[in-house]
């Protein structure tokens, strides 16, 4: 391959694919061929680069040029200018919003400066469908090392020493979990990878599977060797077709290369992986529910103990870890537990991937060392709040987590700090909200979610989440009283204390954390019939300010229900009885004469 002078990497993650990155690949290949350079330039479709806000991303190496928001028709210019003539296409380079300068090297962008990519090390760097690319990045060397240099006990010891904790939610120490599964004797044990990413707004597991599926295959094999299992299962959402395809491909090429199957690398160790499809149930992210679902049942959790390490899949000892946890494992063996242990905070080691989204300038998938503060994530990496609005809260941990506010911005992010502040790490969703977001509405959104996703097995969760969601609906529709708020607190506490599984116990978190930080906002709803964020339409009224109204009639013509009347060139008025509060008039008015409060 000595002749290849240039590699063109095109993001093939779901976000960029949605913006036609496949066409970019096709066009680039066609243009390169037309220029007669197909032997010199290689085009690769990679996993997610993370900078989804500016997607689709095209990166050219070795000159390390990072093009953003590329359209399929830009391929021609990229090839003619950059690839043939070596001139960068300025207009496609990232524009630093502060310095107003183009930046061509991703390392100099604020978005990437504070990141540290461990779990995402190969995402956006290799072709995930080519096992040799992974091997070229030291792939399967960690497995080889474990099989040739370590006993299973030593493997577990190494993972324990690294301090790795489960990235799926509560942060249970991974090495300890493996040890428990190893300690139980059985004729068959299982390694399960939980890829049932249920947090609406988190997509790191999917990105890892799409961008670096072999890292999961390798880590599961290492885990199998450590706990004494020869069977692996990946439980993955059926809604992730691309991730499924890449994973299937990875498993079959690993078999072909002898990295899965009997007597791996000439050792006594045999291991193989199968894929099991989930069917869309948030509760299946809970490991006991997941195992029931894998057996073809309703995904209802069971009480622990017994833990899956004793009685798991088909009652056999089973170790369940999530995707991101597994993605860290090969690195621990390549670079050493001590290396890993140096990253992060005292009790949370390594890095964490977050799906940064919401009212933020740089939406994307980021990975930072544990202990990075929320402020660094939101302002330095995320580029601050969209449209210059004011930061209000950040929601972490998905439906089981809570809202953090201004006062928490300088808190170093790790498992324990987030719990201490009423939220949790969860899988790593991080939704930023601004002054226009109404907190009781946000709580209602989450509770509607848990109400719908509650499996129904235990009463506190089944009925409790329904009651909470009803109360929140009343409050956001202006039918709430102070009694409602009291009742919210009481029911939340009961659910927390009595629900069967993690999903139920944490379901009230969005209510409790928003109440703790924004009780005055709840009170404004129930006492004054007012939504301070201006979000709850039932509590809003639209008015025309007579001194600003020019009587242009634009609003009256656009009102879908004919609620606005008035003579031409004279101030108009809104009939509150007829008004449906759609806001169409306010959007149309050129004089800022329409206000809501």
């Amino acid at each position: 391959m000595a002749d290849t002078k240039m590699h063109v990497l095109v993001c093939g993650g779901t976000g960029c694919l949605s913006s036609n990155s496949s066409d970019i690949v096709d066009n680039l290949i066609a243009e390169i061929k037309a220029a007669g350079m197909e032997d010199e330039v290689k085009v690769l479709k990679t996993g997610c680069f993370g900078f989804c806000e500016k997607g689709p991303i095209v990166k050219i190496l070795p000159d390390n040029t990072f093009y953003t928001q590329v359209k399929p028709e830009d391929a021609k210019e990229i090839v003619a200018e950059h690839i043939v003539k070596g001139r960068k296409v300025e207009r496609l380079l990232y524009m630093d919003p502060e310095k107003e300068q183009h930046i061509s090297d991703a390392k100099h962008m604020d978005f990437y400066k504070k990141q540290m990519r461990v779990a995402l090390r190969n995402c956006g760097f290799i072709d995930p469908d080519n096992i040799e690319e992974y091997i070229g990045r030291d792939g399967y060397q960690a497995l080889a090392k474990c099989l040739t240099e370590f006993t299973p006990e030593q493997v577990i010891e190494e993972v324990k020493k690294s301090g790795l904790r489960g990235r799926g939610g509560a942060g249970f120490p991974t090495g300890l979990k493996w040890q428990l599964a190893r300690a139980n004797d059985a004729d068959q044990k299982y390694v399960v990878c939980n890829a049932d990413e249920g947090d609406p707004g988190a997509f790191m597991d999917r990105s890892i599977l799409e961008g670096d599926p072999h890292s999961i295959v390798e880590a599961m094999a290492i885990c199998g060797y450590a706990i004494g299992a020869s069977q692996g299962r990946v439980y993955i959402r059926a809604e992730y077709p691309l991730a499924i395809k890449r994973l299937e491909n990875a498993i079959s090429s690993a078999r072909e290369y002898g990295l899965l199957g009997d007597n791996i690398l000439g050792s006594d160790f045999s291991f193989d992986i199968e894929i099991t499809f989930g069917a869309g149930a948030f509760v299946c992210g809970e490991e006991t529910a997941l195992l029931r679902s894998m057996e073809g049942n309703r995904g209802e959790p069971t009480t622990k103990p017994p833990f899956p390490a004793e009685h798991g899949y088909w009652n056999k000892p089973t170790n369940v870890n999530n995707v991101e946890t597994f993605a860290n494992v090969p690195v621990i063996f390549l670079k050493g537990a001590d290396w890993f242990n140096k990253i992060g905070t005292e009790k949370s080691k390594g890095t964490k991937v977050f799906a940064l989204a919401g009212k933020i300038n740089n939406v994307g998938l980021i990975e930072v060392p544990m202990g990075t503060t929320l402020r660094e994530v939101i302002y330095d990496i995320g580029g601050g709040i969209k449209n210059g609005k004011k930061f209000k809260a950040v929601q972490t941990g998905g439906p089981s987590g809570g809202c953090l506010t201004e006062k928490d911005l300088d808190t170093p992010i790790d498992f324990d700090n987030l719990v201490a502040r009423g939220s949790m790490m969860g899988s790593g969703g991080m939704i930023v909200m601004d002054e226009d977001d109404c907190m009781p509405s946000v709580a209602r959104f989450y509770l509607e979610f848990t109400e719908e996703e509650s499996c129904g097995k235990c009463t506190p969760c089944r009925i409790g989440t329904k009651r909470l969601s009803e109360l929140l609906k009343d409050i956001t529709q202006g039918k709430g009283t102070e009694e409602h708020v009291k009742e919210l607190k009481r029911i939340s506490q009961v659910i927390k204390d009595t629900a069967l599984c993690g999903l139920g116990q944490t379901a009230p978190n969005p209510v409790l954390s928003t109440l703790a930080a924004f009780e005055d906002e709840y009170m404004a709803h129930v006492k004054e019939g007012r939504c301070p964020a201006g979000k709850c339409t039932a509590l809003l009224k639209f008015f025309i300010e007579a001194d600003k109204c020019k009587g242009c009639t634009l609003c009256a013509r656009n009102c879908p229900v004919g609620a606005i009347s008035g003579e031409v060139r004279k101030p108009h008025a809104i009939d509150q009885e007829k008004c449906i509060k759609c806001g169409a008039c306010m959007d149309r008015c050129k004089f800022g004469a329409i206000v809501k409060h």
Partner: protein
């Protein structure tokens, strides 16, 4: 044996499902896998299909129904020619997905989980497509539309002709 109550086209579908079930080394624990395949073949899981699956796997129909109704991916109603899904993940929600869903409901005259009378459109909400950079997101079939507003849905629906 496929059931004898259905027409020729259905017969083929049942035969395909039967062949799939027969190809499994064991049916133990494979109910969800079978249902995925059945929905792939039939497009949805009507009562008759559920009864058929129960018979083939030798389990009670109640168990099949229990599983079908538990998981949001399984549907007992046929989808429209254009299956519209509005992402209601948190990122899309805070960027206005609720208003988009509302606008679609009004425009199509159907609620979520329903199909228009002419069978052309069905409307669903789903949780996180993972294209949060494009929020709010609407999917029609496999095609993803990003940064959708209540005003832009007309353009999107017009493409479905």
């Amino acid at each position: 044996m496929a059931c004898n109550c259905c027409n020729g086209e259905d017969k083929e579908k049942y035969a395909e499902l039967e062949a799939f079930i027969e190809s499994l080394p064991t049916t133990k624990g494979e109910l969800i896998r079978v249902l995925h395949r059945a929905q792939g073949i039939f497009g949805y899981l009507p009562r008759e299909v559920q009864v058929y699956v129960a018979k083939k796997l030798n389990i009670p129909v109640s168990k099949v129904y229990g599983v079908v109704s538990f998981y949001s991916y399984f549907t007992m109603k046929p989808k429209g020619k254009y299956d519209i899904s509005v992402c209601m993940g948190t990122a899309c929600y805070v960027r206005g997905a609720e208003r988009v869903l509302e606008a679609l409901t009004k425009k199509l005259g159907i609620g979520t989980g329903e199909t228009t009378m002419d069978g052309k459109f069905s409307l669903r909400s789903l949780r996180c497509v993972g294209a949060c950079g494009l929020a709010p997101v609407v999917m029609i079939g496999d095609k993803v539309y990003g940064r959708v507003t209540p005003e832009s849905i007309d353009d999107i629906l017009n493409e479905c002709e």
